[in-house]
Amino acid sequence: MPNFAPTEEQEEVRELARSLASEHLRPYGREAERAANVPAELLRTLASTGLTTPFPEEFGGSGPIEAVTYTLIAEELGFGDGAIAMHVLGSLMGPLTVMLAGSEQQQRAYLPPFCDAQGGYLRHGSLAFAERTGGYTLGEISATVCMDRSTPSGDTSWIVNGTKRDVIHGAASSPRVILARLDGQPGPHGLCALVVPDETPGLRITHDDNKLGLIAAPSASYTLEEARLPADSLLGEPGHPGVVRAATLYQLLRAGVACGMARAGLEYAADYARQRIAFGRPIVSYQGIAFMFAEMAMKLDAARLLLWRAATSWDKGTEVATLAREAEAAHYQALKIAKSATIDTIQILGGAGFMQDHPAEMWMRNAAAME
């Protein structure tokens, strides 16, 4: 039965995420951008809530992830600060992919460190999704992986070719996971995920310098030329549906952050437009401005509904082709509203929006860097 209200439990989690976002993320946005990193203290605070350990309890996590709940959390974090949100969520995507696609042995190897109360919050995993086109659709993944049995020792290994870009924490992460296609096979079933060790022959990692936005979420690009990976680096089995679930989860979380970015801009501009007087009236009382708000709010609600639908499909275990289509649509539309709403925010702030006293210009750069 159609229902558009989160559960009470989800509302509580959302409320928690919202207060963290406004008390801890929002005030540190500029500082994190200048440092190109997120203060450890802030990560510790987040970790203490359990929001950043969505792993099975047997490994010490706070319970397995639900997409609807985490989409709501992602929106709140993105509302606080998009770059810090991407820093935190990007870090989780490595272990989450292991959780969704990996064997039990692989899960035991990679997950417990992230649940460690002492230092787990400082660990970074990574998931390499985008390639040369920069897009986040499964169809744009073209890196290939082939099995090679010709090693001198007789062991099998995997040979990977391709490029990856915008990998958050990509330069220093463990597990460093990449998405690739087995023998170049198209479609969702051809996807697989592999863990790439630091010292991989044929792997070249370039740290992304001078980024436009999302500077607080450091990223890197990879070139893989006949890169040779050990046999156990493949997560699970080839064609494991968990790979698509991990990829779509990343799309959903990114979309959640994007919705939060749009909402941050909208609300910031709303506060400004209430107070800013021109020709004797608050500027929001002019239809030229008021209609911009109506448009932003309408499109944001529409994008969020599309996102929620995809998230419910993820939670229900909808078959991968449908899930992939829905998550892709949600991601595309959420990024679209994040870009247009943050641009409009600056427009409503006028000259002030261009100045770095206000966060609007940083938010516009962050939204643009999501692509």
């Binding site: 558009f4 929001v284 609600d301 599309l306």
Partner: protein, 394 residues
């Protein structure tokens, strides 16, 4: 819990409506549009389909469900009907737009008196008369007057753009009892057909929705009984302007659903046209561009539908939904224009193919969805005013 899956009853209602659209509407769609006339057989078939048989079964199932979602049922069915033919869907016998003000403002006695006859198995329509030649969205300047004379109200004025106005058995007519009160002086009256002084004027010729009857009504010393005033259950305090606006909160998602239905029809037809009619020699880069455009429009279509569902869901939950109702209508109306314009641009109608003629028709039907039940601008005003209740946005 957030959920987008329909219940069995809702799926049954959607399938029933879709079957009606396929069997009763699509076959006569182009002909009715061309002639601006609807055959009597359509009305009789609709009467059968919606007041008995399969429909009754679906309704029965709906009633049995733990939580009834009447508004959601409506928007789900409306989308299918409009997919069939939006103009014909406005002509289906029933109280139509007269129902919401009677249900929200009528006493139980008035509801039984005015809506009871619709269940007698014969063909009946209702209509709503709000718009005047000089007033549209700004109803404060309404010129139609109602004066109490003994036991009767005497109505004088001029209404136009009334859907089903010439065939309606009852017309809920908004008129002012005191012009100096502005909006607050406006009241809804039920005027039965055949009342002396109720005169049907011209029937409009329109660019689209041509099979839908749009009439002018003139009231010349039109006398109706005193208790035909829908005075509200609280003795008239909340009647009038608020009743009119409250009606819109319920009907805007319906209009949004109609827009989604036409848009879906046009989207489907264009996708089919690319798959079936685009020559193999067509440049593949251009074909790919068209497919991408349609993919994106398909996503927006789903967003429009969810906005409509959400607004209807809120109405069912009795959560105030003015903002969300306006969002659903504004978004769907604009998208409908975008999709039908794209369909026309891609398929270049004008040839003698039924698919292309339908696309051309939907393009003409589309524009009014950005206008009636509040223009695109009015919707944005409603949304902005709800977003900024503390600010006066004139």
């Amino acid at each position: 819990m957030i959920d987008f899956t329909l219940t069995k009853g809702q799926i049954a209602a959607r399938e029933h409506a879709h079957q009606v659209a396929v069997e009763e509407m699509r076959p006569i769609s182009l002909e009715c549009d061309r002639t601006e006339k609807i055959p009597q057989s359509f009305f009789l078939n609709m009467q059968k389909r919606f007041w008995g048989g399969a429909s009754a079964q679906a309704m029965q199932q709906a009633q049995e469900e733990a939580e009834r979602q009447n508004n959601l049922y409506s928007v789900i069915s409306q989308e299918e009907m409009a997919w069939g033919d939006a103009a014909l869907s406005t002509a289906i016998p029933g109280p139509g737009l007269a129902a919401p003000p009677i249900l929200s403002q009528g006493t139980p006695e008035q509801q039984a008196r005015f809506l009871g006859p619709f269940l007698d198995g014969n063909l009946h329509w209702g209509a709503l008369a709000l718009t005047e030649p000089g007033i549209g969205s700004d109803v404060a300047g309404m010129a139609t007057t109602a004066v109490l004379d003994g036991d009767e109200w005497v109505l004088n004025g001029h209404k136009h753009y009334i859907t089903n106005g010439a065939r309606a058995d009852i017309v809920v007519t908004f008129a002012t009892i005191d012009k100096s009160l502005g909006r607050e002086g406006i009241r809804p009256f039920v005027v039965p057909r055949g009342t002396p002084g109720l005169i049907v004027g011209r029937i409009e010729e329109k660019m689209g929705l041509r099979a839908s009857q749009t009439a002018e009504l003139i009231y010349e010393n039109c006398r109706i009984p005193r208790d035909n005033l829908l005075s509200g259950r609280d003795g008239g305090k909340k009647a009038g302007f608020k009743a009119a606006m409250g009606t819109l909160d319920a009907t805007r998602p319906m209009v949004g659903a109609l827009a989604v239905g036409i848009a879906r029809a046009a989207h489907e037809a264009t996708v089919e046209w690319i798959n079936e009619e685009l020559p193999a020699s067509f440049p593949s880069r251009k074909r790919h561009e068209m497919e991408e455009t349609l993919e994106e429009l398909g996503q927006e279509l789903e967003m429009a539908r969810f906005l409509v569902w959400r607004a209807a869901w809120m109405a069912d939950k009795r959560i105030p939904n003015s903002k969300e109702a306006s969002m659903s209508k504004a978004y769907a109306g604009a998208l409908l224009m975008k999709i039908t314009a794209t369909a026309v641009q891609f398929t270049a109608p004008g040839e003698n193919s039924e698919r292309k003629q339908l696309i051309a028709k939907w393009f003409r039907d589309a524009k009014v969805f950005d206008i009636f039940e509040g223009t695109a601008q009015i919707q944005r005003l409603v949304i902005a005013r709800r977003m900024f209740p503390d600010i006066d946005i004139p």
